[in-house]
């Protein structure tokens, strides 16, 4: 007798692979992005099956939600800039000469070989091999929080998390730099693209938000997921033009971008006294400090993601900018 869950897993896995192929094979760009969003949500479901609800949430909210929104915005921009709304504007790239079919096939065959090699290596690796769970369980009482993933993110491997926030900061600075002085950008209007996205995203936002509220009671975590949900609110504010970024808000925006990084780094440095090293929170204050960092980081992530979606720095000649949730 086969476990029905195994059949479910098999179908889900097949579906994921099929959606990945479909996303790349779809000719029309808009459909491609929609298939990708479905792929992301189904992958998140698979990650729930792998007992990783935190990751599934982050993937649904950030990996799929925000990425999908960014892709749709870019598509909208490409179509408007070419002046053929509705046409497949991204095909109109002139630069690259066509690559011979033979090269493409050789590349594909090469990738196939690599994938095969990786699959063999994967099957040869020990299943459920050694891990960190013993160490984590041992250290949990000293971490100041109850949720293991939060403990890893904000205590055991807090340095990684700080640098991840730095990556986000680097991204927003780079995006402002890249899009500086970008003129005659199309005003985002609620066209077919946006409505399509809103229909897909809104229920997801509501579900994610509710889940986060519920999980917040027992697991003080989800700075990234929470930040993404707040960012979604910011996105909708920007899209519906309920908030139009002004040049005068740039200072606040800059402050909001760096807030998480600065607070995190300052706390990490300042706790290093009396024989402690950097990132070593005194046990009595660990929970407070982690909550403080999480709060600041959540705010920064929300504003940064919304700004990444908006793109340009608000300049004096034009409106636009980002949102200060």
């Amino acid at each position: 007798m086969i476990d029905p869950l195994v059949i479910f897993d098999l179908l889900l896995a097949l579906g994921i692979v099929a959606l990945a192929v479909a996303a790349l094979a779809t000719r029309e760009s808009f459909a491609m992005i929609v298939v990708f969003i479905v792929f992301g949500l189904v992958s998140a479901l698979a990650w729930v099956r792998l007992s990783a609800p935190d990751v599934a949430l982050a993937e649904a909210a950030i990996g799929t939600g925000v990425t999908g929104a960014l892709l749709l915005k870019t598509l909208h921009h490409l179509r408007c800039a070419t002046g053929q709304p509705g046409q497949n504007a991204t095909q109109a790239q002139i630069s690259a000469p066509p690559v011979p079919v033979g090269v493409t096939l050789a590349n594909a065959a090469f990738c196939g070989l690599i994938t095969l090699g990786l699959a063999v290596a994967f099957l040869g690796a020990p299943a459920a091999g050694p891990g960190f769970e013993g160490l984590v369980a041992q250290a949990m009482p000293q971490s100041g929080v109850e949720h293991p993933v939060t403990a890893v993110l904000l205590n055991f491997r807090a340095y990684d998390t700080l640098m991840e926030v730095v990556v986000l900061l680097a991204a927003v600075i780079a995006v402002w730099q890249i899009e500086r002085g970008l003129s005659d950008a199309p005003a985002p209007v609620m066209g077919e693209v946006w409505q399509g996205f809103a229909r897909l995203a809104l229920p997801a936002i509501v579900v994610v938000g509710t889940y986060l509220l519920w999980v917040g009671a027992e697991a003080p975590g989800g700075a990234f997921q929470g930040g993404a949900v707040l960012a979604a609110v910011g996105l909708l504010l920007l899209l519906t033009r309920a908030y139009v970024p002004q040049p005068a808000h740039r200072g606040i925006a800059r402050g909001a971008f760096v807030l998480g990084t600065a607070a995190f780094a300052l706390v990490a440095l300042l706790v290093a006294s009396g024989g402690r090293v950097a990132f070593e929170y005194p046990l009595a204050h660990a929970k407070t400090l982690i909550l403080l960092i999480e709060g600041m980081v959540t705010l920064s992530i929300a504003v940064t993601l919304a700004a990444l979606f908006h793109g340009r720095e608000p300049m004096a000649l034009k409106h636009e900018g980002k949102d200060d949730t």
């Binding site: 790349l24 792998l50 960014l70 070419t82 690559v99 299943a127 998390t161």
Partner: protein, 96 residues
Amino acid sequence: MTPDMIYGAAGIAVFGIGLVGALCAQDRLRRVLALKLCSVGAGFLLLVGAWREPPGTPDPVPHALVITGIVVMVSATAVALALIRRLHSLEAEDER
């Protein structure tokens, strides 16, 4: 057959599909999307490594790593897309 085997194979397949797309796709947006597929594939691999037979609880460290990876990937995607938008505008100007 356990979920880790099934999803591990799926993850590697998704990584491979993304790799093909990243190397072969002509369309700029499609290449970004292909790279995102690669990152989902890598996420699968880490989560599969963290998975334990049901009574056991999964290893939280890879979970944290994948969350970090997701945030890093969205940052890189945002920069790549900003470059695509900028390049598109510049090319449109050059043509005129």
